[in-house]
Symmetry: C2
Subunit: 310 residues, 2 copies
């Protein structure tokens, strides 16, 4: 069992109400692969520049993430995103985006990466996602993320790609934009009508929810008193979710499996935001994950006391 993730590997310069960090390791594929590595074997497919060194590679190595498909381009620089978050942390302002090597990203997967049982297409150009998806013919679980930019500029390509995946993860605003449906339940149905059997809707500080053929499942966000940096929360969510799914070794996961996966996703997202960049996940332990999973169970459980009926 192994997960292959394809997406951005980047340096992020971050400014939140709790401080600043310059050029820390980031990118969707990074956050995904570190989160997924707690559950299964992971290969990261991406491209970096000469500025990407041993220090960065050691972060993946420590978590056992295979970086054979991380192409390093000489004489060029890595993708670099700079952003600033508003006080309530729900709005990010992009200060600067330097695509650099990422502008020409069009990966050919190694046989090892192409043989993955689970594939996650992080947020990149939809035609590129489709080309990668077709290189992973044997993947039994394929997930896809996207963003408002592609929904607006490459809508048809995105929809065509969505027809070839099992699970789509979008945030609620993106799902509404894609489907033109203000009502979330209708929007999720429209999305599932396109092909994906699971709509996994990220709701930021409100958590997430999932629509499948078996119905609706809602997962709260963990009620952290301090969120340091929300960057990578969605990708860590996906990493926990697909990493866990892959670890089950079931090519056709049950509804219960998808539910538990979504909770593990929320667990990983809740840790990711506790510190800048990948710092918290780098020092995370399996026991902490197990304990927080149990806390999610408690946060969502209720028993009806004996009631004095009228």
């Amino acid at each position: 069992m192994a997960v292959t993730v394809v997406g951005s590997v980047a340096f992020d310069s971050l400014e939140t109400p709790f401080g600043k960090r310059d050029r820390v390791l980031g990118g969707a594929a990074t956050h995904f692969s570190l989160a997924a590595s707690f559950f299964t074997d992971v290969r990261v497919v991406g491209v970096v520049g000469e500025d990407f060194g041993e220090e960065e590679l050691s972060v993946y190595a420590t978590r056992g993430v295979n970086t054979d498909d991380l192409e390093r381009v000489s004489g060029a620089r890595s993708f670099h995103w700079s952003g600033r978050y508003e006080e309530d942390l729900t709005v990010a302002h992009t200060l600067d985006t330097q695509l650099n090597v990422f502008a020409d990203f069009d990966p050919t997967l190694s046989p090892g990466a192409a043989a993955a049982s689970t594939l996650f297409l992080a947020n990149i150009q939809p035609d590129l996602q489709r080309r990668v998806r077709r290189q992973c013919r044997d993947a039994s679980i394929v997930g896809l993320d996207s963003m408002n930019y592609w929904i607006e500029s490459a809508r048809d390509a995105l929809i065509e790609t969505m027809r070839e995946v099992d699970v789509v993860t979008l945030n609620d605003a993106e799902l509404r934009m894609l489907t033109g449906e203000p009502n979330l339940a209708r929007a999720a149905r429209s999305l599932r009508d396109l092909g994906p059997r699971v709509a996994l809707v990220k709701q930021g500080p409100y958590g997430a929810c999932m629509f499948t053929s078996r119905g609706y499942f809602s997962i709260p966000a963990y009620p952290l008193e301090t969120v340091i940096d929300p960057t990578g929360a969605g990708d860590s969510f996906a990493g926990g979710c697909f990493g866990y799914l892959d670890s089950l070794g079931d090519p056709d996961p049950s509804d219960d499996a998808f539910r538990a996966a979504a909770v593990y996703g929320s667990v990983m997202a809740s840790f990711a935001v506790e510190d800048f960049g990948t710092e918290r996940v780098q020092r995370l332990t399996d026991d902490e994950i197990t304990a927080r999973f149990a806390e999610f169970k408690r946060m969502m459980s209720f028993e009806e006391p004996v009631r004095a009926r009228r």
Copy 2:
């Protein structure tokens, strides 16, 4: 066991993407009392004008709500609110507010209303809420709702009143405004530091959550594909919640009781928005409530499948 609710009783003129209604029965105390009536005995304390007739009174009577404390002022008109909702139903624009008899509302409770075991202070001026609270000395569970208007214009009075209640229900924006804390968990802690042992936070289309000394509990919204009219959702939520709590006959409800109460609140809110004004709740049955409560349980439950550990 009985609940007394004090608050607005009104006519509402409503415009949503699904249609219009002119001068339908509304007001916080109306929505609360109808929802609570499915669980326990209810008395509604309010004031109406001469335009409030048998047709309106029969709605309460059908649900067994005691209207002895509904003062009727001759030669005057009832509170009348007119509003229009935007397409996504989360934003309401007030088109007109005519306070009429409500402007001079300052109730003296009848002995029957004052003897309630549970009291709910719906959204009215905070000093008025406090005067009512002091008339209900024996109430063992006291809830309070408020709004941005009072948080801005009568903040000190509101905080003083909050010291004398057990449960505060606000929406998340109001809670942040009251406490000055953008983080919800911190905001809830600040609120509970003022006195109330339970912070019940309404989150509109995202559901609700609850902070108690025993921790955090999150309740999703029911994923309706069609929301016709959100007016009264919050008050129906409170009605289900406090009506259920009262029905238990326990002056010191357990954490489980508060959790189940919050779910019953969400059940009642989910019905309230399925039609204009009180129309859906008027034709609601106990069996429908029981079935939807079970659906909430399914929407929040998960079991971890056997996992292939690394």
